[in-house]
Structure formats: structure tokens, C-alpha cells
């Protein structure tokens, strides 16, 4: 593997940030390719356990966005 690239497990609300991510795509905005998106129905679905699990499984960071 070349340079270390962090993996950021991202929990995105289906209605807010997931849509923003889609729109960023439609607008062809460019951003860093490090996030891995888990679509959740609402940020309320987010449980601390998920964040812990992500870190435990080796994610370099966790991002929760509503």
C-alpha cells in the first residue's frame, strides 16, 4: 500500500447529510476519498456502540452527521 490513507466511517442521516452527499455528487464537487458511508434512517439511530465498534474494527475516525 502506498501512502497511509485514513478510513473514516461515516454515519449519515438518510434525509440530511446523505442527501447533501448526493447533491455534492450531482454538482461534481470534489473531496477527499476517505469516508465510508453507512446510511442510517436518522441520526437518532446512531448508537455509541456503533462508533465504538467502528474504532474497534480499525476505523481511523468516526463521523456522525444529521
Amino acid at each position: 500500500m502506498s501512502e497511509w490513507e485514513p478510513k473514516i466511517v461515516s454515519f449519515l442521516c438518510n434525509w440530511c447529510s446523505y442527501g447533501a452527499a448526493d447533491l455534492a455528487g450531482v454538482s461534481r464537487m470534489q473531496y477527499a476519498p476517505n469516508i465510508r458511508v453507512v446510511r442510517i434512517p436518522c441520526t437518532g439511530r446512531m448508537s455509541p456502540k456503533f462508533a465504538l465498534a467502528a474504532l474497534r474494527e480499525g476505523a481511523d475516525a468516526v463521523w456522525v452527521s444529521g
Binding site: P48, K49, L52, R56, G66
Partner: protein, 315 residues
């Protein structure tokens, strides 16, 4: 405090005789010094077992969970707050209970005395603010204030928050203590040191789950640690699994913990896992101005959403 004993026996007898309750939950003398054990008294003639002194640290709310009888219960400040939580969380109905409030001046920490004592402890008696320990080598005296459980020494709710009758006049609440000084000290450490501190703190854990079992907040039919599908937390002795377990256990107590000290007292290897729950208590207090178990009419801060909840952690 041992002077409460007589009044207690009277009260229990009266409640049972008048059939206001089916049983009374209190303490009786344990088989070893400083080890009073909870006891359930069902007959008026048995009330003389009941005692009260500075060794009644166990949280009696634990013994209410899912009971259907009418119950009389003696409640210290922390017990009463956990009873409140029990009522909120449907573990017991308010109508089932006759809560007999016990103003508390703190419970003594057995470990502290054992550590200081010279040789095996044969008996422990108390005399006002003085604790006398008798060992084979003789008698040692301690000031009670020096051997209090740490949570009692910083307790700001010594009087019951809910009660039907009181065993004595309320005691003065401590106002000059900072319950969260130890947490603040950890927060002040640099990151690396904090990580190492908890590594150190949790390393003796043998995952016996005594902390969980002793906790009055813990009553789920199946605990997350025992589940395998999904497996919330690894079951190994891996340091990360241990840390995750303690993290999640603390989390389940968030907004509910009364810092009764049950977990720490129960721990066979002496881990002060209260540091974790207290960190959350501190946050609840600072963010939501919330302390657990003060009123049966209000659900914990994290159970409900308010439009004005703080959101400064969100960017």
C-alpha cells in the same frame, strides 16, 4: 446513626402489623464485621433482626425490581434516588411502596479500614464520629470522616428525596464538597496520560460483572454483555473488549446513575469504575442541569428531547 435501629424496628413492626406492607426491606447484622446484609422481614416478630449503622452501604433499591408485593423499604439518600428511578422505569409502582426515609451521614469503606488494620479484624463498633476496630493486636480508632466511602464523602443528597415517613430529622447536606473533583483531575491530564490512566485502572478487571449485578440500574432480562447476535462487545479479556464493556456499562447508566457506589463496593479487584459513570453524571449536570432520581415526574435527560438541548458538540 446506630441509634436509628430502635425506631426502625418500631416502624417495621407497625407497618407489618397494620398490614400496610407485605414485607420490609432493611439490613441485618452480617456474618463478618462491616458486612451488613440486606434482609426481607415478612413477620412482625422478625423485626428485631433489623439494624442500622455505618455499614449499610448496599443499595436497597436493587431488591425492589419487579416485585409485586406491598413493600416497606428503608431508604438513604442514594437508595431513595434509585427508588425514584425504579418508579420512572416501571420496575416498581409508587403505590406499592412505603418509603421510610433514613437521613444518612455516610457509610464506611471496609477496604480502607482493612488496609489500615493490623491483623484480622474481629469486630468493628462505632461511637459517634469514631470507629473502633478490634483486632488481635488491640483496638484501633479511626475518625469516621477518614474512612468514609469516597462517594459518601462527596455526597450532596444525604437525605431521601422521596419518602412516606422519616426515621429521624433530616441531616445537613454537605455543600462544600465537589463531587466531580476526581473527574476534573482526569480531564486535566494530557491525552496520552488519560489513555494510560484508564489502561491502568481497568487492567485488573476479570469481567466478573459484579459491578453490573450490584448496580440498581441494571435489570434487563438479557444483558448486552451476554448477547451474541449482535455481539455488542467482545467477550475476551482483550484490553479493548474490557474497555468497551466498561464504556458501555457506564453509558447505560448515563443520566440515571446516583453514584451510590454499589459497583465499586462490589468489585472484587477494587476498580473505581465510578470514574466513568461520574464523568457522565458531570456532563449531564453541566449540559442538561440534570441529576438522576430527584423526581419521579421527570424522565432522565437523555430519555427525552428538548428543543433547547445543547448542541455545541455539533458542527
Amino acid at each position: 446513626m446506630s441509634t436509628y435501629t430502635d425506631t426502625m424496628r418500631e416502624t417495621a413492626r407497625r407497618l407489618l402489623k397494620e398490614c400496610r406492607v407485605d414485607l420490609v426491606i432493611g439490613f441485618r447484622q452480617g456474618s463478618q464485621p462491616m458486612m451488613n446484609e440486606p434482609c426481607l422481614v415478612r413477620k412482625p416478630e422478625d423485626v428485631d433482626q433489623l439494624v442500622w449503622d455505618s455499614n449499610c452501604g448496599i443499595n436497597l433499591a436493587n431488591y425492589l425490581t419487579n416485585r409485586k408485593e406491598k413493600i416497606g423499604i428503608f431508604a438513604k439518600g442514594c437508595d431513595s434516588r434509585n427508588i425514584v428511578t425504579h418508579i420512572i422505569e416501571n420496575k416498581v409502582q409508587r403505590e406499592q411502596l412505603v418509603i421510610v426515609g433514613v437521613p444518612c451521614l455516610g457509610m464506611i469503606d471496609k477496604r480502607k479500614i482493612t488496609a489500615e488494620a493490623q491483623g484480622e479484624i474481629l469486630a468493628v463498633t462505632e461511637d459517634g464520629d469514631q470507629i473502633n476496630v478490634k483486632t488481635a493486636a488491640g483496638t484501633q480508632s479511626f475518625a469516621k470522616a477518614d474512612v468514609l466511602q469516597q462517594n459518601c464523602s462527596v455526597c450532596t443528597h444525604r437525605n431521601p428525596v422521596i419518602h412516606d415517613e422519616m426515621i429521624a430529622e433530616p441531616v445537613a447536606e454537605q455543600t462544600d464538597v465537589d463531587p466531580y473533583a476526581d473527574v476534573a483531575a482526569i480531564e486535566a491530564m494530557p491525552l496520552e496520560e488519560r489513555w494510560a490512566f484508564f489502561d491502568d485502572l481497568l487492567s485488573p478487571c476479570i469481567r466478573c460483572y459484579a459491578c453490573r449485578n450490584a448496580c440498581p440500574l441494571c435489570y434487563c432480562p438479557t444483558c448486552f454483555v451476554d448477547e451474541s447476535k449482535p455481539q455488542w462487545v467482545g467477550k475476551s479479556q482483550d484490553a479493548m473488549d474490557i474497555r468497551t464493556f466498561h464504556f458501555l456499562r457506564a453509558y447505560h447508566c448515563a443520566g440515571r446513575c446516583t453514584d451510590c457506589g454499589a459497583c465499586e463496593r462490589a468489585c472484587p479487584v477494587g476498580i473505581n469504575m465510578r470514574l466513568l459513570t461520574k464523568k457522565l453524571n458531570k456532563d449531564c449536570k453541566e449540559l442538561y442541569d440534570w441529576e438522576a432520581g430527584l423526581s419521579p415526574d421527570k424522565r432522565p435527560a437523555l430519555d427525552s428531547y428538548q428543543a433547547n438541548d445543547p448542541e455545541n458538540f455539533i458542527k
